[in-house]
């Protein structure tokens, strides 16, 4: 993608390896398999994410990245294996699902803001109805995060009145308002115009610096190099390679990874 932004990000000179990573396990996936009908979409996924880790997942289209990430907060159901998030195993038990979902924030490719609510209402909806926060307090928290994503002045507008970049930042703020311990991002910048990608990535980098556990499906390699402490490469529903960014980009092991990297970095 736009190399300008990539360059710019690395120019910030953060060393991902400097960021704190604890030993606590945040997400533990063991031998997980998932089918859509007869189509085997995730195969034997094994993965451990420690608290504070920032993981970038990449891979060709259709390789199951989105599915994997959506399994983690049970937007999709897996059929075999175990997913344990923050000590809670995801089964069909509604209570567990609720618990996991309130711990895990998710940002979608297409923002999925609620168009009939103002930005502020978008942000306070879940705290009020799920966390049972008093409205006033919820609004204060919301304004805090809006300031953090640098658009407090848009609080009373509707999503339709904002640019794509602004909308995505609102979506991030909306997740943050639930004070999640883990954030999932599914291609958060791929629906954005190039100028707007930067502002969203900046927000995400800030988040990373604060030590948030993050799983991010993205093709922004600049971002991966800047903040990730691990890159996972998926293909055909399997984890094919997994390494720290430096090694991953400079010294890919598997042929598939090489091919993939040559394609996205090539132009």
């Amino acid at each position: 993608m736009s190399e300008a932004t990539a360059l710019d990000l690395t120019a910030r000179q953060i060393d991902p390896s400097q960021m704190k990573v604890s030993d606590e396990v945040a997400i533990q996936i063991t031998q997980m398999n998932k089918w859509y009908g007869t189509f085997h979409v995730l195969r034997d996924i094994n993965m451990t994410v420690n608290r504070g880790e920032r993981i970038v997942i990449c891979g060709p289209s259709g390789s199951g990245k989105s599915t994997l990430i959506r399994c983690i907060n049970r937007l999709e159901e897996h059929q075999q294996g175990q997913i344990i998030v923050d000590g809670t195993e995801l089964t069909s038990d509604l209570k567990n699902i609720d618990k996991v979902r309130s711990e895990v924030g998710m940002v979608f490719q297409h923002f999925n803001l609620f168009p009939h609510l103002t930005i502020l209402e978008n942000l306070t909806l879940a705290p009020i109805w799920v966390r049972k926060t008093p409205k006033k307090e919820a609004e204060e928290v919301a304004m805090h995060y809006l300031r953090k994503v640098k658009i407090p002045e848009q609080a009373n507008k509707y999503p339709g009145q904002l640019s794509g970049g602004q909308q995505q930042r609102v979506a991030i703020a909306r997740s943050l308002c639930m004070k999640p311990r883990i954030m999932l991002f599914d291609e958060p910048t791929s629906a954005l115009d190039p100028e707007m990608i930067k502002e969203v990535l900046d927000t995400m980098i800030e988040l990373a610096e604060e030590g948030m556990t993050m799983l991010c499906v993205t093709h922004e390699m600049g971002f991966a190099q800047a903040v990730a402490n691990r890159v996972i490469f998926m293909d055909q529903g399997q984890i094919v390679e997994q390494n720290n960014p430096k090694e991953f980009f400079n010294n890919p092991q598997s042929d598939r990874t090489k091919l993939f990297l040559s394609q996205i970095l090539g132009h």
Partner: protein
């Protein structure tokens, strides 16, 4: 610099009427207006000369003559001594009644069918598809006639209830009788009736007024309770359980009013040829109502389905990801958005239903078309006047409904960039 152009302000030429953007549209509009006015003038001139040739004028005086005929369903006082104007009013009220009942029932059936059509239950989804397709693709008139025929053919005549070993019997503890003329149901009577209050040509039934007041009061009370719950939630974060308070608020007042009025149910019983007592809902009303309901509901089902489909899956996923439960998601996220998509076409279905109710004539339901546009027209022979009045009334009703729609549309329009 060789500029071959005239000053724009230079004198006015005739050609500019056509080739100058400033005048062109005015020219066109004037020509159109003139043509239309010519056309209208031509029509009116023809009308006047035709009427003159017939020795008639346009005269609405017949409205104040004695109507002389009876109407089998009257919501306001009416006898055959009343005027044609009053017969028209009776017809209009009957039209509004069927339209009102039809709209409500069609909405209920339509929403259910639309939602069920989206259900992942194979049998139900198929069944609903069949229902929708069959009703949408067969003329309404056929449905009205068929359902009416079913009613006359399937249910016994009232005299079948007679005798020691009657061929038919009443249902629901001997309170409801389905006959091929009407359905006789119990109807509340008031021991301590409040009577009538004269209001110009109409009389206001005070019992009814009290009941309506109680209903409205209950509704307001309910809203108050909900508002209070929201306030408490905003302050403390916890929403108090409201369902029993709401139930009480909604039904309490009406219960008290009914009690105060000394309400008892008057059950129908067979006397002479027919049932007396209670309320006899004529089959023409029921059949027409059913037909209009089922027909319109098929369209509404499609509207509802499209409305729900129009909300992208992403919306509910985002809500789930935030931890909202499906019920809350429906109430807070999906419905408010789907309604914006659903309501405008829904209202135009209401309009259609209202207009389609003019097919009542096929089953002898005396609506506006049956009184003013039917018997009154036949008896007085004032076709021109009656038809103009009929159209005017329908037009006013339609415009009222559609302006309500526009107000709604404007109030919920999504804000865009």
């Amino acid at each position: 610099m060789a500029v071959v152009t005239e000053e724009p302000k230079a004198g006015f030429r005739l050609g500019m009427l056509i080739y100058d953007t400033r005048y062109r549209s005015i020219t066109i509009q004037i020509v159109v207006l003139m043509l239309v006015m010519l056309g209208v003038a031509w029509l009116i001139d023809n009308l006047l000369s035709n009427l003159a040739a017939l020795g008639r004028g346009i005269d609405f005086g017949f409205l104040w003559n004695r109507a002389g005929y009876d109407i089998n369903q009257t919501l306001v006082e009416y006898t055959n001594d009343s005027t044609h104007a009053r017969a028209t009013l009776v017809g209009l009220l009957n039209t509004l009644l069927i339209a009102f009942l039809g709209c409500i029932a069609a909405t209920v059936v339509g929403v259910i069918a639309g939602v069920l059509r989206l259900s992942n239950n194979w049998v139900i989804a198929r069944l609903m598809t069949v229902y929708v397709e069959i009703f949408r693709n067969i003329p309404l008139l056929l449905w009205i006639l068929m359902i009416y025929t079913i009613f006359t053919e399937a249910f016994p005549a009232p005299n079948a209830f007679r005798g020691d070993t009657p061929a038919a019997s009443m249902v629901m503890f001997d309170t409801v009788a389905f006959t091929n003329r009407y359905t006789a149901i119990p109807w509340p009577m008031f021991d301590r009736s409040l009577g009538w209050l004269p209001l110009g040509p109409l009389w206001l039934n005070l019992d009814l007024a009290a009941i309506v007041a109680a209903l409205v009061g209950g509704f307001l009370l309910n809203r108050f309770i909900l508002r209070r719950a929201t306030r408490i939630q905003e302050a403390t974060g916890d929403r108090p359980t409201t369902w029993w308070q709401c139930t009480l608020a909604l039904f309490g007042p009406i219960f008290l009013v009914l009690l105060a009025l000394g309400t008892h149910l008057d059950s129908p019983s067979l006397q002479g040829f027919n049932f007396t007592g209670g309320l006899q809902v004529s089959n023409s009303l029921v059949a027409l109502w059913l037909a209009l309901t089922l027909y319109t509901a098929a369209f509404i089902a499609e509207i509802v389905r499209a409305g729900i489909n129009a909300i992208s899956r992403g919306q509910s996923e985002a809500a789930f990801a935030l931890g909202l439960r499906p019920g809350r998601t429906m109430n807070l996220i999906i419905l408010p958005q789907a309604l914006r998509v659903i309501i405008p076409p829904l209202i135009s279905q209401y309009l259609n239903l209202t207009k389609n109710s003019s097919l009542a004539i096929a089953v002898g339901y005396m609506d506006l078309r049956g009184t003013l546009g039917g018997i009154t027209l036949n008896q007085t022979g004032r076709g021109l006047e009656a038809m103009m009045l009929l159209m005017l009334i329908y037009l006013i009703v339609s415009l009222l409904i559609s302006s309500a729609m526009n107000v709604y549309n404007n109030s919920v329009k999504l804000k865009e960039r």
